[in-house]
Structure formats: structure tokens, C-alpha cells
């Protein structure tokens, strides 16, 4: 197909504004996926995505659309995640496009992530097609949405398409707009082949697979290619497109989105953001890559079974290929043995990665209490970075600890502003600016310590605002804070994996909360077990794990001793799946559960 008849676009929006559902309609309308096999939320192909009802990865797919102008177009679409933790995923998809559909839930209006994603698209110079979605909802407020579009995003209201991913209204209009408003592939007449690697996965049979957008030239099997970032050479084995399943084709041309498999063994040799060119006629300049992402949250991940260490290591290597924002490095813990210090973009990201390691690679893991990266200026003038509480120097050696902050934009309904400001205060934050959003809402610009918003800030925001509040943030400056290391002792033994760095004034409350939660998460034991929080060796809080109230079965006669022993053994087996620290069985998910509110 001619390059001018190709269009590349992403669907972006705030979480739950209907991106994946609208994608279903586009697939359906273009007969890309036959109706009978189209499952709802078709592009959310990972089990984890389906279970949680959220999109974690960007999903590319190619549609063929006969437009009203009589020509047939090839549309390369990418559905993207909406959660702030995955905005890196969104920006990578955008770099492979010329346009973006910006969805706005007609009943919710513009939310924080709508603004943030619109800015990402603008920064990359993309054409934005605004779509007011879910107009079938009785609570839809079109007028307000159109107004917000002009006021908040400076997008003319008349550009907006009214649609519903549920009923299919507006789908044709959207497809036409994609064809007419989004420009044909850019940089297609560059004199050499350039493909942007925007994602990759590891396949057990074919090895590392790169997802590429071809900007210029073409690529086909047997081509000798060059990875421009480190000059690795490789031979192309297979190329294909997404239907959304991978389908082999003869070659990929300028403007196409597809995948390529090379004879590359080491997953690490394929880098997301890299430019692939032909070895015979290499490009001079790389395509604009991506800003390198810096993980914001760190936590240790350890195998439950110590001899799964190597397996965990190779799993992480493969997973990293599919998630460039995730980093890992070997470390060890007194309580947990050998494992890895891992970096994530946020807590949801951390949870998703852990779950993927468990499911996709079948390794049972435990993770430690998460931490942000602190900067510590020591008495002797040295400055170090600490991403693991156990590495915090002795207080007598510390001059100042600096903690990372974020600049948050919080959208709040007017009547909740007081409560949200109180929440910001509670989290040691400050409000720097307020702007009116529309007649009913404000935008608060706040500076907050990153470690305070990790755990429950978003949940509290949602509950205070009955779901109408939203937030988007970026990393701010480091600032000095009175921080201390809090240790957790289980049955008198310190469990380093639970150590955390907390603000001195909050230590008691935090310690109390943590002890109570842990005491609750650890299943009842036969004997009394204390969970204590300590700062500098001084106990600041304690709670007890429940002792078992009842664990006895009635029948035990007829002489079947073996059967009874089997039952006891089964019971014991359940505990072997836990991590035994001292003689306390701690469930592997305890470490993540302590972070959750219920």
C-alpha cells in the first residue's frame, strides 16, 4: 500500500474513559476481528488486564478502512493504558504515531490524566482528534465537556466528535477523521531505512521480538540490520503485523507498524527507543528516542524458594524486555536471602510486575516494603543515594536527608476542596496554586513528598471526591526532611524486608498502623507472636498476631491414623508456601498487603 494511504494513531484518555471499548468498535467496524470472535475489551489480551479491567500495555493493531473518498486506508492503531504509572507506555506509543484520539468521558469530563496525555501528544507534535465518548450515558454533559475542551485544552469545540463505544455512535465519523485530519506518515522520504523500536516481548520459541514503526525504507527477512544505539548487527528472521495477533508478512514498509524477529539471543540486545536501520545503507541520524525513565519506587523482590534465584533473574530479564520502565539489580536481605532491588514507576506498576513474574514465569516471590530514593548528606560531606531503608547510614553519621517530591495537579469538585487540602496537609504537602477548571471544579497544584502519595493518596482522593477527583503528577525537587528508619520486629526478630523510612513525627502512628496491619495479615499462630515497630532500637508500637482460636477436627476413630496424618500434613503444607522467619509463617503477599487500605 502506498505510504500516503497509511495513518498511525493512538487512543489516549484518562482511566476508564472507554479507550479499550472504543477500540473494540473500530476493530468490529473494519471487520478486523470477526464479530463472532470479538471478545469485549478485545485488545486487553493479558489475563491480568482482563481480570483487573485495566490496560497495562499499549496494544497495536492494523485496520483496513475503505474511506468515503473511495480509497482504502491502512490504519495502525494503538490502545494505551490510562493510569499515571503507565504514562511512559503511552509516550512510547505516541512516538510511533502522527495522531491521537483523545477520549473524554461525557459524564466525567476532562480529568487530570486527560490533560497530561493531551500534553504528551502535543509535545510530540501529533494531531489530536477530540472525542466526547459515552454520550449514551444519561448523565452525559456535552456542553460542559465541550466547554472544558476549549478552556482546559485549547481545542476548538467544533473539532469534537460525539461517540459511544458502547452503542457505536460516531465510529464512522472517527474513522473518517483519522483519514482526513491525521497527516500521512512523516519522515517517509528519509534516504535510509529507519524503524523505531517502541516495545518488545520475549517469546519462548522465537526469542526477543521487537515491535517497530517503520518510518522510512523497508525491512524484510534475511536483511542484515543494525541497532543504532550500540551498533549490534543482526539478521532479520521474520517480520509481521498485528491483526491483533501476530501475522507473518513478506516485508514492512514506510508507515507500517509491525514486529520483527532477529537472530538475537540476549533479550537485553533489543532496546526500546532504539532505531533499527539497514547495515548495507545505514541511516546517519537516529529517530528521536525516548526520555530515559527513572524509576521512582524501589522494592526488593525475592524468590520464596531460595533455589529459584536464577529462574527469577532470567524471568526479570525477559520481562524487562517488555517493560523498559522496570529495572533490577541483585541484592540480599537477612530475612529473605538473595534477591533483587527493583525499580518501578509507581505502586500499581510494582504490583503488576510482581503479578506478571508470578503468572507468566511461575516464580513464587516475596517483595519488601517499597521505598523511594533518598539523598543523604553525611557528616563527612559525602552524599549518597538510598533506595533501600537498610542502607540508611547510622543517624550519627547523617547530616541531612533529602526526600523526593512531586508536583501534582489535582482536579477537585469545589465542595471537596477543604477535605482535599486537609489530606494534602496530612501528607506533609502544600498547595501552591489553585485555578478554576470550570464552574464546578478547581485544579490544585500541590507539592507533596513522593513517599506520602505512594500508598493510599489516590484512593483517598477518589473516596473524598466520590470518584470525581483525579490527579496527575511529575517528579519535583528533593528537599530536606526529618526522616528516620523504622524497623519491624516479628517475634522479637527484626525483619529487614519490612523496614521503611518515615517522617519522624509520623513514626508512632505509622508504626502502630503497620503493626496492626501485619498482625492482621499474618495468619493466627499457635503461640502468641508480637509484631513491633522500633526506631533506633526503641519500640514505638506493638501488636499481637491472633492466636488460633479453634483448630481441631472432631472425628478420629475407626483407627485410620494415616488419614488423620494426611490431613495434618496438608495443613502443614499450606504453611510451607509461606516464608518462615523465626518460627513465624508470613504469607508471600503480606509485604504488598500491608500497603493496601481496605
Amino acid at each position: 500500500m502506498e505510504t500516503v494511504n497509511k495513518r498511525n494513531f493512538s487512543i489516549i484518555a484518562h482511566v476508564d474513559h472507554g479507550k479499550t471499548t472504543l477500540s473494540d468498535r473500530l476493530l468490529e467496524h473494519t471487520n478486523t476481528v470477526a464479530q463472532r470472535v470479538l471478545e469485549a475489551q478485545h485488545l486487553d489480551s493479558m489475563d491480568l488486564e482482563r481480570e483487573r479491567g485495566i490496560t497495562i500495555k499499549s496494544h497495536p493493531v492494523t485496520l483496513v478502512y475503505p474511506a468515503k473518498d473511495g480509497k482504502t486506508y491502512q490504519l495502525n492503531l494503538a490502545d494505551t493504558p490510562g493510569h499515571v504509572d503507565f504514562s511512559y507506555e503511552v509516550s512510547r506509543s505516541l512516538a510511533a504515531c502522527e495522531g491521537a484520539l483523545l477520549l473524554i468521558d461525557a459524564a466525567q469530563g476532562v480529568e487530570a490524566q486527560t490533560v497530561a496525555n493531551a500534553h504528551l501528544a502535543e509535545e510530540q507534535g501529533l494531531t489530536i482528534i477530540p472525542v466526547i465518548n459515552k454520550i449514551d450515558l444519561p448523565s452525559a454533559n456535552l456542553e460542559l465537556c465541550l466547554q472544558q475542551l476549549e478552556d482546559l485544552l485549547a481545542i476548538p469545540a467544533e473539532d469534537a466528535i460525539l461517540a459511544s463505544g458502547k452503542t457505536g455512535i460516531g465510529i464512522e465519523d472517527i474513522l473518517e477523521a483519522v483519514v482526513t485530519r491525521i497527516p500521512p506518515p512523516r519522515w517517509s522520504d528519509y534516504q535510509a531505512t529507519r524503524c523505531l523500536v517502541f516495545d518488545s516481548v520475549y517469546d519462548a520459541y522465537r526469542g526477543a521480538i521487537a515491535f517497530v514503526r517503520v518510518f522510512s525504507g523497508s525491512i524484510k527477512p534475511k536483511d542484515q540490520v543494525l541497532m543504532m544505539s550500540d551498533h549490534t548487527r543482526a539478521e532479520v528472521k521474520e517480520v509481521g503485523v498485528f491483526t491483533p495477533a501476530q501475522k507473518k508478512v513478506d516485508s514492512l514498509e514506510a508507515g507500517d507498524v509491525g514486529y520483527l524477529v532477529c537472530n538475537i539471543k540476549n533479550p537485553a540486545d533489543i532496546k526500546v527507543g532504539d532505531t533499527i536501520t539497514q547495515n548495507a545503507n545505514p541511516a546517519e541520524e537516529m529517530l528521536p528516542g525516548y526520555k530515559e525513565v527513572r524509576p521512582m519506587v524501589f522494592s526488593g523482590i525475592y524468590p520464596v524458594e531460595t533455589n529459584d534465584f536464577e529462574k527469577l533473574k532470567s524471568s526479570m530479564g525477559k520481562l524487562q524486555l517488555n517493560d523498559a520502565a522496570f529495572s533490577f539489580q541483585a541484592e540480599s536481605s537477612v530475612a529473605l536471602g538473595f534477591g533483587f532491588r527493583c525499580g518501578f514507576l509507581g505502586l500499581l506498576h510494582m504490583e503488576i510486575i510482581q503479578e506478571r513474574i508470578r503468572r507468566e514465569y511461575g516464580v513464587d516471590i516475596i517483595s519488601t516494603y517499597p521505598s523511594v530514593v533518598y539523598k543523604v548528606r553525611k557528616q563527612n560531606g559525602d552524599e549518597i543515594e538510598v533506595d533501600n531503608p537498610i542502607n540508611l547510614p547510622d543517624p550519627s553519621h547523617i547530616e541531612t536527608i533529602f526526600e523526593p517530591t512531586i508536583v501534582a495537579h489535582i482536579h477537585v469538585p469545589n465542595d471537596c476542596v477543604g477535605d482535599i487540602l486537609a489530606l494534602v496537609m496530612e501528607k506533609r504537602g502544600s498547595c501552591e496554586r489553585t485555578d478554576t477548571l470550570d464552574g464546578t471544579r478547581l485544579i490544585l497544584e500541590c507539592i507533596l513528598p513522593l513517599n506520602e502519595i505512594l500508598v493510599d493518596f489516590n484512593d483517598r482522593l477518589k473516596s473524598i471526591t466520590r470518584g470525581y477527583g483525579s490527579m496527575e503528577y511529575e517528579l519535583g525537587e528533593y528537599r530536606p526532611a526529618k526522616l528516620v528508619k523504622m524497623d519491624i520486629l516479628v517475634n522479637g526478630e527484626p525483619v529487614d524486608a519490612f523496614s521503611s523510612i518515615v517522617h519522624a513525627e509520623k513514626a508512632h502512628t505509622k508504626g502502630g498502623e503497620l503493626c496492626t496491619k501485619l498482625a492482621d495479615i499474618i495468619p493466627p499462630h499457635l503461640f502468641k507472636i508480637a509484631v513491633q515497630a522500633a526506631i533506633g532500637g526503641k519500640i514505638v508500637a506493638r501488636d499481637n498476631v491472633r492466636t488460633m482460636r479453634k483448630d481441631v477436627t472432631a472425628k478420629c476413630y475407626g483407627g485410620d491414623i494415616s488419614r488423620k496424618r494426611k490431613l495434618l500434613d496438608k495443613q502443614k503444607e499450606g504453611k510451607r508456601k509461606m516464608k518462615n522467619i523465626g518460627n513465624v509463617s508470613i504469607p508471600p503477599d503480606a509485604f504488598i498487603k500491608v500497603l493496601k487500605n481496605d
Binding site: 482460636r549 479453634k550 483448630d551 481441631v552 472432631a554 478420629c556 475407626g558 483407627g559 495434618l568
Partner: protein, 388 residues
Amino acid sequence: MSKSKPKQASSEQETPLGLYLHVPFCSTSCDFCGFYQIQSDRKGILSYIDGVKRELELVDAGNRKLDTMFWGGGTPGLLPAADMLKVGAAITDELGMPSQEWTVEMAPSSVKRDKLEALKEAGVTRISMGIQSLNERLLDALGRQHSLKQIHKAYDLIREVGFHSVNVDLIFAIPTQTEEEWRADVRGALALEPDHLSTYCLTFEEDTALFIKLQQGKVSIDPDREARFYTAMWEEAQRGGFEQYEISNYARPGHACLHNVNTWKMAQWIGVGPSASSQWAGTRHTNTPDLKDWLAGLERGERGLVDRVVLNDGLLLEDSLIFGLRMNEGVDLAQLGQRFGRDLTQIALFDQLVEEGQAERVGPSLRLTPKGRMVADAVGEALLGSFG
């Protein structure tokens, strides 16, 4: 198994010998039942009686005589009187009359005068009757095997014929049962003036109708509620002058079930009939839980092929502790130490149990307190694998 002289470990030489007969027939199947049981028909019963005889031939007790015998099931009382006599004679001819105790389980619906008289005549000393509940609604919930009227009629008949010891079984923590209803059941049962009372907390055995309901979420398990029912039971038994001697068992003085006590003390017993377990001739083993397979095995001269474990002192010691601690008298550590040649005076787990108020030491004995009894499985689990 071929006939061979039983080889005995030093520690089991002088322990009492029991015989457990499993009679697999029931009139219908109860929702909660996890035992091997089938509907009876004449052909099945005849083949079963044949099988019992064959199995007894395969078991060589040397000149050992029985101390106790227990017929359980299933519903042994479902067998016609003449058949019970045949089976009884087959056993006593081979192994002698049990010198201490002979129990037969009966269901209220199958208690008949002629059967009772035949059993009494044959030498049965103890009748155990599963009445389950004295509450019509709960009897219904359990699948209604009998009515309240049948219970009273059967009980009176048993007393009239006259046995040394009579036990009734109750089930508790039945879905929808209240604590008051449970107390009423216990009082009602005690009002019958039995010699022995067994009360079983409803358990959800795999593959039962009840277990399926549990999986479907139609019923649920609430350990706290079960604990309250246990405590209620203890209070009511004490009030009624009954002494608890094991987790689920209460008796008037001198009426504890010796057969069961002997198994919990890791004596020896021979299990006859499909699914019956033995601890005998140096091994522990169980018969296949299927009438046809059991018969086919006997044809080939084989029995007790399931869960075969060779006994050793460590295993027997461990089980003496696990099962012994379920009894109120607890375990005599000095005696067990001697029997199995181990020093049991310094076991950290025991000290910890005492420290936490879950056990107490009385002379050389260690026994669980009511608090400890409530977590007897956890104690057993902690002991598992520590000696065996």
C-alpha cells in the same frame, strides 16, 4: 498378603489388640458422610460376609486374643440378625470373644428387637447409636435418616434388651443451628441417660454433598462459631455429670470406649472390611474403600494395600503424642519415654505449650487445657515429623 507370623516391634508386644469391622451398608447416603458406604442388597451382603471370612483367614493373629471389637460403618445395624450372628461367629471363632468390650453401631431406623437380642446373645456389650440431633428441623437439614419418635423408640428398646454401655452420637455446628438449639440437643441427649456421648462438630469431608454446598458458597465454615459450640458442649456435659475424655467423647465413669482409647494409645488393631484400617503386624495399612476391589483383592490373597506404612518407634511415639493429647488425661511422658526409648523431659514445644496456657503438666503427664484442646490439630501439626 500371604500368611506369615506377625513380626512385632518390641514396643508393641504387650499392647491390647482390637478388631474394627467396617460394614459398608447404609439405607441412604447422608449429606455429610465421608465414610465408605453403599446401598445394601442381598447379593452385596452375602458377598460381604464371604469376604469377611476370607479376610479373617488371611489375618493370622497367632494365638493373640481380642481385647476389644468395634463394628462401625456404614450401618452395621442394617444387617439382618442372622447375618450379624454369622459375621460375629466368624470373627470370634478365629480370634476369640473380645475380653473387654464389643461395640456395634446402630441407626435409630434399623434398631429392631430381634437384632438387639441376637447381638446381646452373641456377647455385644456396647451399642452406639447415631441420633445426630433431637431437633426435627436439624434432622431434616441433615437429610432425615430418622424421626424423633424413632430415636426414642430405639433408645428405649436398647435399654429394655439391656447392654452394659450405650452411646449416642450427636452432630453440632449444623448450618442454621443456634447455640441454644445445640445446648438443647445436648440436654436432651443427656436426659436419655446414656452411658456415653459422642459429639462431632460437622466436618466438610471432600466429595460429600455438604462439601459441594460449601464450594458453591451455600454454606460456610465459621471457626469462631464452632469454638462457641465446643465450649457450650463442655459446659453442658459438666452440668450433666459427664466427663470429657477426648475431644469428641464424654462418658460416665467407667464407660469410656476402650477400643477407641486403645487406638489413640497406639495399641494394635486389625481392620476388616472395605476401607478398614489396621495397625498390626508391624505395619499400618488400609483396605481398599470399594466392596468389589476389596473382594477381588481377597481372591488374590491380598489385603491392606492402601497407605501401607512400616511402623517404627519414632512414628508410634509421634502418633501416641498427637492422638494422646486429644484425650483429657493427656500423655504420660515418662511411660512413653520408656516405651519408645526416648527422653521426653526436655521438649521445647511442650514447655511453650505450657507457657502459653495451652497445656499443663500433672506429674509425669502432659495434657492440653481446654484452650489447647481447641487447637489440638495445630498442636498435632507442630508435632508432625518431629519424631517419625
